[in-house]
Structures are given as structure tokens and as C-alpha cells.
């Protein structure tokens, strides 16, 4: 008797909606929360059926689920949209179980959690994100077209032979500014897409990414000589990343060259494996003007938290930081010469990596437990996804 009392108290005290549906669709039992949420009295509940409380568009699907349960199965984590007495919509998630009397299934019990507020908030968030993406995309597209017109107009001045030579300097400055603005809005678009995108991580060759980024930077600064020394060799280390891996190194190299006034710019890339872990540490060292302690503090901070860009770096390092976070790694910054920030900057990146030689060893030593490179990549990618989710959660908490 005490147990029955306990169950009744639980059913009546819970915020979950509980009902018991008979084969004809009428209700054998509904709890207090069900009545309050859907706006019916005890007596009204005896006169209505399932068809009266399920949102029309979801009714057929729900009736199919009810049939399944009458055949003895359980339906877990289902979504159902109820309709209240006044026509409002209530979003719920829950489970359906068969109610048995001996061998016979006499009714279907439904336990539902009201997730309306969460659902509305999720929908609003999705709409806001879609709106933001749309406007950013539109703005970037239209601004780029405007920049194209301005750039081409200035180039016409530059190209015509009778344009006064003493004014060409101003034209050149204007062209540089347009390119800077274009780069900035391109980065805004990239960062917006990165935030919205759920990337599939794969293995990418680290040396190849460094080499490709270096080539791009060299073509951006034809007037400078860029001397890159790297300890990375092709096909040696594959890191968990996506198509934007090159962009990380491009951004770091580009800054090293851009802010170094020397005609010959030296950049060193060297690496070491982090022992007993699937991580590689990559250092990108330059000998440029460096970054002060004060500037270092906010250099990777999300743009929403930063009042102004540092040294004109724009969104570049924000993107770098976000990309590396997406890969389950992280980036730090230090002085090339400890204690003297004016002698250059060293960025250190930690990424998850796979060495082909490690895979070979595993295959040789234990055939029964061998991991193919793809399996290992999948494992690491999974770990990276988890790390990314944890990082996202942490970031969201920080914002809150």
C-alpha cells in the first residue's frame, strides 16, 4: 500500500506529463502536470482522446508509435508536440512503454518532459545565427564588389600614362588600404562560417601545409626575401585538422613578414613530439618587432571581447586560435628571446598527430589489435571532437 501511495505521490508531484492511453485512444490516466500543462480538467480529460491533444502534423507519426508499443515494444527519446485546450503548442520529449495485465498489453504509458522553453530558445538561436550568417555573407559580398570597383578605379589612374607621377604614391596607398579592408572582411566571413560549420576532421600532412602556406606568403610579398627553415619533412607527420590547416601557418607567416621591416625575413619552424601522447608541438619563430606583454594577453581573444585589433592583426589570430581549438589543440605565444619582446615572437602550436611509423609498429607487433591509419585517425578525430565540444562549453560558460 505504501508503494502505491509513493507512486501516486510521484506521478502527481512531478513536472513531467504522464498519461496512459487505451487502445481506443482515450485516457485511462493523466497526472496533475498533464492537466495543468494542457489546460484540461479531470472531467474533460475523460471525454477527450489522443487525437485531441497531439499537434495535427505529428499525429500520424505518434499513432504509429502507439501501435508499435501495443505490439510490445518500447519507444525511447521520442519527440511529440502537444496542443493545449486553448490551441497553444507544447513541445515534449519522452518515452512510451506498454502497460501489461499478465500477457496482454492493455494500454500505453507515456512519460514526457516539457521542453517548450528550450525548444523556443533553440529555434530563436538558430534563427539568429541564420540571420547573422545571411547578413555577414551579404555584407561581405557587396563590400567586396564595392572594393573591386574602387580598386579598379585606382588602378586605372595607375595604368594611364598621363597620370601625374607625384600622385601615384597616393594611389598606391589607396590600393594597399583596399586590400587590407578586403582581407579583413574576408576574415569576418571566414570566422562566421567557422562558427556555424561542423567540420569533419581528417588527417593532413603537416609539412605540406607549412610548405603551401609559405609559398602563398612568398607570392604576397614579392619584394621581400623569405627564408623559411623547417624541421618538418613530407609524409612524416599527419595531424588532425581540416581544409583550413594551411591558413593557420599562412596567417602566422604573413604576420611575421608583414611586420618585419627587413627585406630578408627569417622564419624558423621546428617541432617535437609530446612524449607518451598523440600530440606534436610546432614552433613558429620569427625575429620581427615582437609583441608586448600587454598585447599578448588579448591576442587570441574572441573579437567580441576585444575592443580593437592589435597592431592591425585584424581577425587573423582569432581565426587561428579558433581553428586550432576546433582540432582539439591549442596555441601559445612567447618571446623569441626570453624577457625581450622586441627580438621577435614564437608561436607554439599543439596538434594531435599520427606518424606512419607508429602505425607500422602497431601492425607488426600485434596483428589482432592492429589499428589502421584510418582507424587511428578516426579515434583521434573523435577525441578532437570531444575536446572541441569541451572547449566550446567552456567558452560558452565564460561568455555567460
Amino acid at each position: 500500500m505504501d508503494n502505491i501511495r509513493l507512486f501516486i505521490d510521484y506521478f502527481e508531484g512531478t513536472n513531467d506529463l504522464i498519461h496512459c492511453v487505451l487502445p481506443d485512444g482515450s485516457f485511462e490516466f493523466v497526472n496533475k502536470s498533464w492537466l495543468e500543462t494542457l489546460g484540461y480538467s479531470d472531467i474533460e480529460a475523460t471525454r477527450i482522446g489522443l487525437k485531441d491533444i497531439i499537434f495535427k502534423g505529428h499525429l500520424e507519426h505518434h499513432l504509429n508509435l502507439i501501435d508499435t508499443v501495443f505490439q510490445g515494444k518500447t519507444c525511447s527519446n521520442i519527440e511529440v508536440t502537444f496542443k493545449t485546450n486553448t490551441g497553444d503548442v507544447v513541445y515534449c520529449e519522452g518515452n512510451l512503454f506498454p502497460q501489461r495485465d499478465g500477457q496482454e498489453i492493455t494500454a500505453v504509458q507515456g512519460f514526457f518532459r516539457n521542453v517548450t522553453e528550450q525548444k523556443i530558445a533553440d529555434n530563436e538561436l538558430q534563427e539568429a545565427e541564420a540571420r547573422t550568417n545571411f547578413f555577414v555573407d551579404l555584407m561581405v559580398h557587396d563590400l567586396t564588389n564595392i572594393f573591386q570597383e574602387l580598386l579598379s578605379t585606382l588602378e586605372i589612374f595607375e595604368l594611364v600614362s598621363d597620370f601625374p607621377v607625384h600622385l601615384k604614391e597616393y594611389v598606391n596607398e589607396g590600393l594597399t588600404e583596399i586590400e587590407r579592408a578586403t582581407h579583413l572582411i574576408g576574415n569576418v566571413r571566414k570566422i562566421t562560417r567557422l562558427s556555424a560549420k561542423k567540420t569533419e576532421l581528417e588527417l593532413f600532412d603537416l609539412a605540406e601545409a607549412v610548405s603551401s602556406a609559405s609559398a602563398k606568403v612568398e607570392s604576397s610579398f614579392p619584394e621581400k626575401q623569405i627564408v623559411l627553415s623547417s624541421t618538418l619533412v613530407p609524409d612524416k607527420y599527419a595531424v588532425v585538422a581540416d581544409e583550413f590547416l594551411d591558413d593557420i601557418f599562412y596567417s602566422l607567416f604573413h604576420n611575421s613578414v608583414k611586420y618585419n621591416t627587413a627585406n630578408e625575413v627569417h622564419i624558423e619552424v621546428y617541432h617535437e613530439l609530446v612524449k607518451f601522447t598523440p600530440f606534436i608541438r610546432i614552433h613558429v619563430k620569427d625575429h620581427g618587432p615582437g609583441i608586448s606583454e600587454e598585447e599578448k594577453e588579448g591576442i587570441f581573444v574572441r573579437i567580441s571581447h576585444r575592443r580593437e585589433s592589435i597592431m592591425g592583426l585584424g581577425l587573423g589570430l582569432t581565426i587561428v586560435n579558433q581553428l586550432i581549438g576546433n582540432y582539439g589543440g591549442y596555441i601559445t605565444i612567447s618571446d623569441t628571446v626570453e624577457g625581450d619582446h622586441t627580438k621577435g615572437t614564437t608561436f607554439t602550436i599543439i596538434l594531435q598527430c599520427v606518424q606512419p611509423s607508429q602505425v607500422d609498429q602497431v601492425e607488426q607487433t600485434d596483428q589482432s589489435t592492429q589499428l589502421s591509419q584510418a582507424d587511428q585517425a578516426a579515434e583521434i578525430a573523435k577525441a578532437a571532437q570531444a575536446a572541441r565540444a569541451a572547449q566550446k562549453e567552456k567558452a560558452e560558460k565564460e561568455i555567460e
Partner: protein, 119 residues
Amino acid sequence: MVTVLIVDDDKFLHKVLEKIITIGGHQVVGHAFDGAEAIERFVQLNPKPDIILMDHRMPVMTGTTATRKILAMDQTAIIIFISADDSVYDEAIDAGAKGFLTKPIRSANLFDALKQYTE
């Protein structure tokens, strides 16, 4: 000298691009302001332009759709995309574009492309 058909929904861009192309010693033989008009102009032009500079995001018909339709009519047509959105690169190449220039485009890069794709 390379003959060019410019396809872009931005009128002023036509004006400045034509000027630059002319300074570079080439000739703009036609203008279209959306994908459907591009097909129409291409059909009308005789001889055909050496190169079509094609924007992607345009009213009526996108650049990739127009590219597929033009290439279905004439496989020898050379289409180079000029777009502010490099995320459509794969779509453009799949449609049959020979090249892709991301706006804003410097005149030197444009001249290089005109030369490269008509050699």
C-alpha cells in the same frame, strides 16, 4: 588581343573592368548582367568571345548555371569566374569554369589570366 564578354550584375564594375581590359590591349565585345542574359549574349555574339568573365551571384540565373548551359552549347567556350565568394570555387570548376579569380582582382592578375587561358 583577347576578346571578352563580361557577366556581372554590377553596372559600374562593367565600366571599370572594360577600361582596364582596354588599357591592357584587349577588347570587351559584350556585356551581360545576369546568367540568362549571358547565354543570350553568347548566342548572339559572332565570332564568340575568347573569354567569358563570369560572376556567380547574380539575379535571374547564377554564374554556375549559366556556365553549364553555355558549355552545353559550346564546349570550347572559356569561362573564368570572378567572384567575391571563394567558397563557390569547387562549384564553378565542377560547372566547367577554366579558372577562378577572387574579387577584388588586381589588373596584373586579370591580364595574366586572359593570357594564360587563351594561349
